[in-house]
């Protein structure tokens, strides 16, 4: 049962991920990205990580993607006409290098990070309390660094916008 749910969710996530880049229109791309986020959230449920599910839906599917859609609609880009560039060697080379790097990373994770399956989940795993405790103890430093990075990004956006519209 759990394997079936995981396989279904993984399939949906992969397919909609593919469809994100195959769409001609940015709004449809954003919609498939939302579906991919939702499928990922479903996988978190099968991992008993209910809090992470809620955050995934609330923050990614609910807030960040709304802003994506908002910006896409504000700019309202026209439907992209297909420009077939099969023989653009620079593109193919760049895509090939990136694909090999990504594949290498995936293989490395699969080989290194493989843990014997069937290990029982400790009680309280994935609960809000445990995630919070970890965030404020073991992962306090990365957590705070992330918030500073986000702050820098916001300030950067403000400065750029001010240079553009100010004065």
């Amino acid at each position: 049962m759990e394997v079936a749910i995981f396989a279904g969710m993984a399939l949906v996530a992969a397919l909609s991920g593919l469809l994100v880049i195959l769409q001609r229109h940015a709004v449809y791309s954003a919609l498939f990205l939302i579906i991919a986020m939702g499928a990922l959230a479903g996988i978190y449920i099968t991992l008993e990580a209910h809090f992470v599910w809620a955050v995934q839906v609330l923050v990614y599917a609910g807030a960040i993607m709304v802003l994506f859609v908002f910006v896409i609609m504000l700019l309202n880009p026209p439907r992209e006409e297909p420009r077939w560039a099969w023989f653009d060697l620079r593109r193919i080379a760049l895509a090939g290098v990136l694909a090999v790097v990504l594949l290498g990373e995936l293989l490395l994770v699969l080989v290194r990070g493989h843990t014997p399956g069937g290990a029982p989940v400790p009680p309280g795993f994935g609960s809000t309390e445990q995630v919070g405790r970890l965030l404020f103890t073991d992962f306090l430093f990365p957590f705070e660094v992330t918030s500073i990075i986000l702050l820098v990004a916001i300030v950067g956006a403000m400065v750029l916008a001010k240079g553009h519209y100010g004065k």
């Binding site: 709004v27 919609l31 939302i34 209910h50 839906v57 609910g62 709304v66 802003l67 859609v69 609609m73």
Partner: protein, 343 residues
Amino acid sequence: MSAFDLIAMLVKIGVVFGALLLTVAYMTWLERKVIADLQVRIGPMRVGPFGLLQPIADGIKLFFKEDLMPGQVDRTLFLLAPALSIIPALIAFAVIPFGDTTTLFGLLPQPVPLRLTDVNVGVLYVFGITSLGVYGIVLAGWSSNNKYALLGGLRASAQMVSYELSMSLSVVGTLLLTGSLSLVEIVRAQTGIAWWLGVLPVPNWFAFSQPLGFAIFLACALAETNRAPFDLPEAETELVAGFHSEYSSMKFAMFFMAEYANMVTASAMATTLFLGGWLGPIGPSPVWFLGKVFLMLFVFIWVRATLPRFRYDQLMHFGWKVLLPLAFVNTIVTAVFAALGRH
């Protein structure tokens, strides 16, 4: 899961779904009646006693209206948008506890809890699901390929993202005092009597210990459901009918139902988080729950009849520069008191 549990669950789902849709239908009647009373009119009177059959007549009328599909729309999303709007509105209700336990006056062999399910992240579930409801509105605005509809959709997305922040923050105080994200635990934590300001005996509801949080939550609930005075996405004086300008027949009705279902959910959340949920001194608990929910729904209508619509810049100013800082202050003060109380 035993056969009894399964049947009980199916019956509960049927009852909750039916009651929700019936409430949605009769909210239109209630809204017209209450606003009529507040404006010294009498409202619908012709269809049935006190116009009580008016929602049924409206429903039949909407079903038989011509379903127009304008030529310039993006067909897929135009059809999908009403469904995307109403589905989150209906499934958000799944975790809201509407009563304690019941044996139906001793008819059932074992007590049945009066809620569909109790997940340990119930509050986040409701916020997460309702935050998805904005896509229906936004996509309706975009797919209509009409500038008024697009402006309505844009306003809806900016408004809902802005007010969602303050709404989530306004309940953090409640969560700090409860120590749980489960809606059942939050209601249980409000049992008993408290002394308000040390003198006045009041129910131990979070509306009394978290008045600021409650006020912020109410303001944000109005904005999240696109109700007056925050109904800018469908401001008829500027935008024809906003995001649903191009919709007719049942597709239009689905947006309408979604708005009312969201109102019911928001009222039920306000009841659960701040008004003690199903708790009451005597009598069956679902009656108390329903009474409080309808009190909140009345407030929604009352506000609509009282306040004029905000201007767009006022809306953004109010959300980001008034409500959000206040929600932060409420969170910090509550956290300090909770920490002091624990030691």
